[in-house]
Each structure stands twice: as structure tokens, then as C-alpha cells.
């Protein structure tokens, strides 16, 4: 009996890791892209931006959607991500190869992203419910004009976008999509471009909103 139980736990661990990988892309990465596009409406002025916020907030089943497709996936990905950090070790001093640095940065950026996302969700989603104020162009502007908050956002965005781009590269390997050296190099170039583009978009939004 003990063996079959051990085997079950054994196999479960494999599924958990694959689910972690899947959640990183569907829906977390997809949501990240959607979120950056929605934010870019800042460029169209306060009215357009507030319109997008109001549209999103008026969705039917808003809370279940937010929990199922945003909150829970990020939470589960983060919990298992922290466990992965625990099972990792560092040997950059002896083996300072670029990919080894990326391995390290994937973990560090995940942890920074977690702190950033937690603060961000509090500031722009939960606090407004608790203290009954409205999140709109003005509120975002007020936050982004505070120097430390703005700096924290820049750091958080760098970490998140690196984690996102390198994560897509990892995803392609985890699922056996990119196998050889060449395909991994090409996917690396493609995801770098996507990562930098999304970062530039996000940065522009938070700079423009400051006015």
C-alpha cells in the first residue's frame, strides 16, 4: 500500500509542475498582454481610459471572472513558483553562463513580480472597495506622481516583463515545442522582441499618465 501512495504523490508532482507552466501562459501571460493594451488607452486621454475601466468593471460575473481567470491562476503559479525557488540552488560563480543567469533571474523576477502584483492589486482594486473610492485616470495619476510608487512600478515592470518573456521561452521547452539549439535561439529572439515591446508600452503608459 505504502508504495502505491508514494507513487501517487510522485506522479502528482509531475502534474503540478506542468500545471504551473500552463498557468504561466494560459491565462496569466494572456491577461498581462490584455492588461497592457487596456492601459495603453491612457494615451487616448482621460475620457477614453475611464471608458475602458468602466467597460471592464461593468462586465457581468466580474468577480467570478477576476477570481477564476486572474487571481487564482496567479496565486497558484506563485505558490508553486516559490516552491521551485526552494528546490533551486545557485552556482553562478563557477558557471557564469548566460542561461544560468536567466535561470537565476527567472526566480528573482518571479519574487519581485509577486511583491509588485500584490501591492498593485491592493492599491488599484482592493483598497478602492475597502475605502470606497473610484479608480480612474485621476487616481492612477495621483499614484504615479508619487516618486517611490513610480520607481517601484518601473522595477516591478522590468521584473514582470523579463519573467513573462523568459517564461514564454521556458514554456516552449517545457512542452517540447522548441527542441534544438537553433529553434531555442529563434524563440529567444522572438520573445525578447515581444518582451521589450510590452515593457515599452507599459512604461509609456505610466509616464504619460503623470502628465
Amino acid at each position: 500500500m505504502s508504495e502505491s501512495v508514494a507513487e501517487k504523490i510522485d506522479v502528482k508532482h509531475f502534474y503540478l509542475r506542468r500545471i504551473h507552466s500552463l498557468l504561466g501562459v494560459f491565462p496569466v501571460s494572456i491577461f498581462l498582454v490584455e492588461h497592457m493594451i487596456a492601459n495603453a488607452f491612457i494615451l487616448k486621454g482621460p475620457e477614453a481610459y475611464n471608458g475602458v475601466i468602466n467597460l471592464l468593471r461593468s462586465l457581468p460575473y466580474l468577480i467570478p471572472i477576476e477570481i477564476t481567470f486572474i487571481g487564482l491562476p496567479i496565486f497558484l503559479h506563485a505558490v508553486y513558483g516559490i516552491y521551485i525557488c526552494y528546490t533551486s540552488s545557485l552556482n553562478l560563480k563557477s558557471y557564469g553562463y548566460a542561461k544560468n543567469w536567466f535561470y537565476f533571474l527567472q526566480r528573482v523576477s518571479g519574487l519581485i513580480a509577486l511583491a509588485f502584483i500584490a501591492y498593485h492589486i491592493w492599491d488599484f482594486r482592493i483598497a478602492s472597495e475597502v475605502f470606497h473610492f473610484e479608480v480612474n485616470y485621476e487616481a492612477v495619476r495621483r499614484s504615479m506622481r508619487v516618486p517611490w510608487i513610480f520607481s517601484f512600478y518601473v522595477v516591478g515592470l522590468v521584473a514582470t516583463m523579463f519573467h513573462f518573456a523568459n517564461g514564454l521561452w521556458l514554456f516552449c521547452i517545457t512542452w517540447g515545442i522548441t527542441i534544438g539549439k537553433k529553434s531555442q535561439r529563434i524563440s529567444g529572439i522572438i520573445f525578447s522582441v515581444i518582451g521589450f515591446a510590452l515593457f515599452a508600452m507599459a512604461l509609456q503608459s505610466i509616464i504619460v499618465v503623470r502628465g
Binding site: 521551485i84 533551486s88 560563480k93 563557477s94 542561461k99 544560468n100 535561470y103 517540447g176
Partner: protein
């Protein structure tokens, strides 16, 4: 480029440990330089007269060696912080003083000798062989195309030296990861025309805790593998087989 500068003395720091439960200590040795020396010949020189630089008598250093041409893997150790075979670690090409340690990822036996039997256990776990036992002669097996043979030859060069495990940050006491070598061997036998029949068994043996999914893609393994085995390609190849196995239920 003149690499063979004449040296008066070579200084070597060696991490010593009497046994698995004894404390470790560093000892420094000083040797007369001879052209063409490698780390093994240094150790042999020390064995002749085991005396530290300071003139203290000590025990001869224990190490393992076999082929002396980088195909057996027995003399693997950590030299100047990097894992490699000591037979091909040429004194002229190394930074001095030399720093020599045993591999850190395997149980220590004594000095530079470690026990790598966990690697053999891993090969058993992934069933890295072609089962052809039976009661009658099955005749010749299917033929391999030159392309298949070439691909498999590269993977077959693994000598179980342990370099890839030593350099892998996911291979450590907190993690159950089986490591690149065994995964690559599973791929080798999955690509065998007769071994293919048991491919699913090997693939499934890596869909467990510590299986292929625990790779973190630091990709140090390909950098340190002395046989230049495309280990990251093998791991991704296995990941693809696992994905197919995962969606196998769709065929039903």
C-alpha cells in the same frame, strides 16, 4: 602563443577528507614543474612523497583514475571551481595555484573519491536498455538509418562522469531531479529501433517527482559535458514525448 612557460614550482591546494563523516581540511602542496604535467601526474608526484608545502608529513591523496584519455569519467573532480576530468586538466593551461576538490553532489568516500552509484540507480529508473531476453532467437533486429545512428552515437558517448549533475543547479538535496544524463539515456534508447517498443515505459518513468519537468533550463549541462552531448536537446525531446504521452488519452 607560448603556453609552456617554465615554472619553478607548482602550488596545489587540495581539499582533504579522511572519510564521509570526518571533517574536511585544505592542504597545500608544492611541486617541481615538469613540462606536460596534468593534474593526475601532480597527484602521483604528491603520492611519492606526501608532504605539505610547510613540510608537514601527511597521507597520500586518494583519487580515482582509469582510461586517462577522457572517455571513462572516473577521474572527474572540481578543478579551480569547475567540474572536469583531471586527466585532461593540463597544468600549463590552468590558473595557479591549483584548487582541487571532490565533486559536491555525490556522497564522499575519501579525499577526491566520490560514490556515483546514484547515477547507476537513475539509469535503472529510466530503463536505459533494450530488453530482448526471451526463450528463442528473435533473429536480427530492424536496421538503423545512418542519420539515426549518427544521432544516437552522440548520445551514446555518455560515460556517467557526473559533470552535468555537478553543474546543474536543479540537482541538489532539496530537489528530486534525476538530472540530464539519465534523461538523455532514456532518449537514446527510445530512439533505438527495437528499444522504441518500450518507449512509453521509459517516458512514463520520467513523469514522476524528479522527472524531466524539474529541469530549470540553466543549461549548464551542455556547457560542461566533456562529450559534448546535446543534453538540453535530449531534455526538450523527452518533454515532447511526455506531452504526447499526456495527451495520449485523446486517441482513445
Amino acid at each position: 602563443m607560448n603556453q609552456t612557460i617554465k615554472r619553478e614550482d607548482i602550488e596545489i591546494k587540495i581539499k582533504r577528507q579522511e572519510g564521509p563523516n570526518s571533517p574536511a581540511r585544505w592542504e597545500t602542496f608544492s611541486l617541481k614543474y615538469r613540462p606536460g604535467m596534468n593534474v593526475i601526474s601532480c597527484l602521483m608526484e604528491i603520492r611519492k612523497k606526501p608532504q605539505t608545502k610547510e613540510g608537514m608529513k601527511t597521507t597520500p591523496v586518494c583519487w580515482e583514475q582509469n582510461c586517462l584519455e577522457e572517455v571513462c569519467g572516473a577521474c572527474t573532480m572540481v578543478i579551480n571551481g569547475r567540474v572536469r576530468q583531471s586527466c585532461t586538466a593540463l597544468v600549463d593551461k590552468l590558473e595557479h595555484p591549483l584548487r582541487i576538490e571532490p565533486m559536491s553532489k555525490f556522497p564522499l568516500v575519501r579525499d577526491l573519491v566520490v560514490n556515483r552509484s546514484s547515477m547507476f540507480e537513475s539509469l535503472k529508473k529510466v530503463k536505459a536498455w533494450v530488453p530482448v531476453d526471451g526463450t528463442y532467437d528473435l533473429g536480427p533486429g530492424p536496421r538503423m538509418s545512418p542519420k539515426e545512428a549518427q544521432y544516437r552515437y552522440e548520445l551514446s558517448k555518455c560515460m556517467t562522469c557526473g559533470c552535468c549533475l555537478e553543474a546543474c543547479p536543479q540537482y541538489n538535496p532539496q530537489s528530486a531531479f534525476i538530472g540530464p544524463a539519465a534523461i538523455s539515456q532514456a532518449v537514446l534508447f527510445n530512439a533505438h529501433p527495437t528499444g522504441k517498443r518500450n518507449a512509453s515505459e521509459r517516458t512514463r518513468s520520467l513523469m514522476v517527482s524528479g522527472g524531466a519537468q524539474d529541469c530549470g533550463n540553466a543549461q549548464n549541462c551542455v556547457q560542461v559535458c566533456p562529450q559534448n552531448i546535446p543534453l538540453t536537446q535530449s531534455i526538450a525531446e523527452m518533454n515532447r514525448d511526455i506531452t504526447k504521452e499526456l495527451f495520449g488519452f485523446l486517441k482513445e
